[in-house]
């Protein structure tokens, strides 16, 4: 009985995998970091590409010399070993040039980092609280609060139903934000450490119990952006996605009105532990 059930499951899994292949349910793969939809995410992408190309150039140089040597300086080609074993000049040169390259990388990196750290003048503040295993979003000044939980059915995870397009990257209630506005995001957690990450926004920030971390974003393009918890947080760490829906400011206002009207009673009692005791550096909310 049990065995036949396993066998049956196996057949279904295999079948659905093949079906997935043939119908192209397997989403398009990506090779590189997304450029994202904020000015910060584009800066981060540029930085990433800059360093990447520098590494490629150095790699071509170093490995080029090495392969040339491997080809020409082999005993089977009659190479006779030279006996030199140091050169102060060369050694100084190849210490100084890398230093210069590093400084060239550090300058733009510092600029981006400073911009990312500046969360002043935000127009909207949302507190994100990580739980095992879902997110809670609090719009602090609007009094709107709700949980956001994975909505992929268990059957898809257990391979008894075919997987949807946004398998594991879909939630019941996405975070809704207005485009073109600077949104401050405060992360914290109620149990263990989580990390809130949407690649298209260009960063992740740990959500740590007892701490409130600050970050910000300003999304340029309306759309739905998907990410995941990035810090191991226990059994269902792989099953707590982040979905952000960026809408026009008007649409956002409408959504807020609707949310307030719904006045969700269940979220009120699920507030995390008193925050005032846990705010670092006397930051007030």
């Amino acid at each position: 009985m049990a065995i036949s059930r396993i066998a049956q499951g196996g057949v279904v899994a295999l079948g659905s995998a093949l079906w997935g292949w043939s119908t192209g349910a397997y989403a398009e793969y990506e090779l590189n970091m997304p450029q994202g939809v904020t000015s910060i995410s584009k800066d981060v992408y540029d930085l990433h590409m800059l360093i990447f190309w520098i590494c490629v150039a150095i790699g071509i140089g170093v490995f080029g010399v090495m392969f040339w040597s491997i080809y020409h300086h082999r005993k089977s080609r009659g190479a006779v070993a030279a006996q030199f074993h140091e050169s102060t000049v060369i050694e100084i040169i190849w210490t100084i040039i890398p230093m210069a390259i590093l400084i060239a990388m550090a300058v733009p990196a510092t600029g981006t980092l400073v911009r990312m750290a500046d969360a002043r003048d935000a127009e909207l503040t949302i507190k994100v609280t990580g739980y095992q295993w879902r997110w809670q979003y609090d719009y602090l000044d609007q009094g709107v609060s709700f949980f956001s939980t994975l909505s992929t059915p268990q059957a898809q995870i257990r391979n008894t139903a075919s997987k949807g397009e946004h398998y594991l990257l879909e939630v019941d209630n996405p975070l809704v934000v207005p485009v073109g506005k600077k949104v401050r995001i405060l992360t914290t957690a109620a149990d263990v450490i989580h990390s809130w990450w949407v690649p298209d926004l260009g960063w992740k920030k740990d959500a740590i119990p007892g701490f409130i971390n600050e970050a910000w974003t300003q999304i340029d393009k309306p759309g739905i952006y998907r990410g995941q918890c990035a810090e191991l947080c226990g059994r269902d760490h792989g099953f707590m996605p982040v979905v952000v829906k960026a809408v026009s400011p008007e649409e956002f206002e409408q959504w807020l009105v609707q949310m307030k009207a719904q006045a969700n009673p269940q979220t009120a009692q699920n507030k995390p532990v008193s925050l005032s005791a846990t705010v670092p550096g006397g930051q007030t909310l």
Binding site: V44, M66, H85, N159, V192, I193
Partner: protein
């Protein structure tokens, strides 16, 4: 270097005893060669156990959906795989190499503290039996990652105190091993073996041993605080009790970053021995190699928070750790340039140890490049905790540390056993490993950049292709290691007789001994010039 024949040794045949018979030889031994052998065989066993766990992980990740294991067990596998590979495979392998080689490289009769040497080894099998047995306790083994971050790690079940005890035991073993190495190198060198004549393997181990003595106690402190937080009502890391979970990460990485260098500095040493031999040319920049190693060791103490860019440090902290981390690229670069210059205008041959050494230089450098990318804090906000990091550290640890260990095994096995290994099989092992490892880890860069977090048992559909490729690579790599084990065992049992010199270009005291060397060597100090 050459040795003057010891003159009086055979005059009075004092208590020249060989090994004790049977099992007691191995249990009671204080001989550095026996203990070296024990360490190396133990590490090979752990390599296969840790490898089997890795294959469980990769098998589950072959396709999206949960097929083989439950997520909780998956997390136990990732945690245990790392602990077993780091503390059970890579570190003991290097200690084994140190035991076998340091005395015969510096002209010492044995390690300075031979009884402690026996003890440091024999703690290990108990520590790992304890650690592995926790997989069978209620609630399973540790599943919070090898980094043991609280509060998550405090959710471990009955396994918790046993894991902490096992970590303490491994730590004690490492500290004793390190003290022994420092004492041996500083006190037992042949009088003519000055510090700046020491082979690089000895230098890198000297520096590594200082790192070990400095940071293993820090790990011990950190895990003890976890223990008291869980069982004795302290709140070191518990925010609700006034503690600080991020403090654990600072303490852990103050240990953890030097730890990664503990796993790579001896590898640098090995590679610096092998490349000159097969290039038939002296190592380029010996002195700068020593200084580069020392600078890397120093810098490794001030970069730890590059593992924590996303925890929300102040801007000044992020900048400091970013700049300091980038600096490590300089001495690391010096090393790579020196290896390439050593090959330059040499007269190279490509026996198995050289092949592994060349692959090391290339693939470790690729890992260094991704390290440099990770050092850029704003970019790390994207890379952190993704498969990009997994690709980075596997490039530096597998074709880095592990390849260097394999290169060392092939290089010195003829010396140790007196038999040549099977070269053809060695070449097969190399090519399968090098192909397997790249198929396994290169696509993980893409996965991370495309947004796949690490430590997840199931993933979104756009990650399918590269995960499948990676799993295929894992099985190629994993299975080809059986060739290595087979080759090693066959070489121990017999094979073509090795000469004393073994390799045409080999230089150094160990090659002046017979192959295999007698049970006791250099009871009279050799002369080095």
């Amino acid at each position: 270097m050459s040795t003057a024949a010891p003159t009086h040794e055979h005059g009075h045949d004092h208590e020249h005893h060989g090994p004790a018979p049977g099992l007691s030889r191995w249990i009671l031994t204080t001989n550095h060669k026996d203990i070296g052998t024990l360490y190396l065989l133990f590490s090979l066993l752990m390599f296969f156990i840790g490898g089997a766990m890795a294959l469980v992980i990769r098998a589950e990740l072959f396709q999206p959906g949960l097929q083989i294991v439950d997520p909780h067990f998956f997390n136990q596998m990732t945690t245990m795989h790392a602990l077993v590979m780091i503390f059970g495979a890579v570190m003991p392998a290097f200690v084994g190499l140190a035991n076998w080689l340091i005395p015969i490289m510096i002209g010492a009769p044995d390690m300075a503290l031979p009884r402690m040497n026996n003890w440091s080894f024999w703690i290990m099998p108990f520590a790992f039996t304890l650690l592995l047995s926790t997989l069978f306790t209620a609630g399973g083994g540790p599943a919070g990652g090898w980094t043991l971050y609280p509060p998550l790690v405090l959710q471990t079940g009955e396994a918790f105190p046993f894991v902490i005890l096992a970590v303490h035991m491994m730590g004690a073993s490492s500290i004793m091993g390190a003290i022994n190495i420092v004492a041996t190198i500083l006190n037992l060198r042949a009088p003519t073996m000055t510090l700046m004549k020491m082979p690089l393997f000895v230098w890198t181990w000297l520096i590594t041993a200082f790192l070990l003595v400095a940071v293993m106690p820090v790990l011990a402190g950190a895990v003890t605080m976890l223990l008291t937080d869980k069982y004795f009502g302290t709140s070191f890391f518990n925010a609700a009790g006034g503690g600080d979970p991020v403090m654990f990460q600072h303490i852990f990485w103050f240990f953890g970053h030097p730890e990664v260098y503990i796993m790579i500095l001896p590898a640098f040493g090995v590679i610096s021995m092998i490349i000159p031999t097969f290039a038939r040319k002296p190592l380029f920049g010996y002195a700068s190699m020593v200084y580069a190693t020392a600078s890397i060791a120093f810098l490794s103490f001030i970069v730890w928070a590059h593992h924590m860019f996303t925890v929300g440090m102040p801007l000044a902290g992020e900048l400091f750790f970013m700049y300091a981390t980038m600096l490590i690229a300089v001495p690391t670069g010096v090393k790579v340039f020196n290896w390439v210059s050593t090959m330059w205008r040499g007269s190279m041959t490509f026996e198995t140890p050289m092949l592994f050494a060349i692959a090391f230089v290339i693939l470790f450098t690729i890992g260094g490049f991704s390290g440099l990318m990770l050092a850029i804090a704003p970019a790390d906000f994207q890379y952190h905790d993704t498969y990009f990091v997994v690709a980075h550290f596997h490039y530096v640890l597998v074709p880095g540390a592990v390849f260097s260990i394999m290169a060392a095994a092939y290089y010195w096995l003829p010396k140790w056993t007196g038999h040549m290994y099977n070269e053809k099989l060695g070449q097969w092992h190399f090519w399968l490993s090098v192909v397997g490892i790249n198929v396994l880890f290169f696509p993980q860069h893409f996965l991370g950049l495309a947004g796949m977090p690490r430590r997840i048992p199931d993933y979104a559909l756009q990650f399918t292709e590269f995960n499948m490729i990676s799993t295929v690579g894992a099985f190629i790599f994993g299975i080809s290691q059986l060739l290595f084990a087979y080759n090693v065992i066959q070489t121990i049992r017999g094979g073509a007789k090795a000469t004393d010199q073994v390799w045409e270009g080999a230089k150094g005291l160990e090659w002046t001994l017979s192959s295999p060397p007698p049970y006791h060597t250099f009871q009279t100090a050799p002369r080095v010039d």
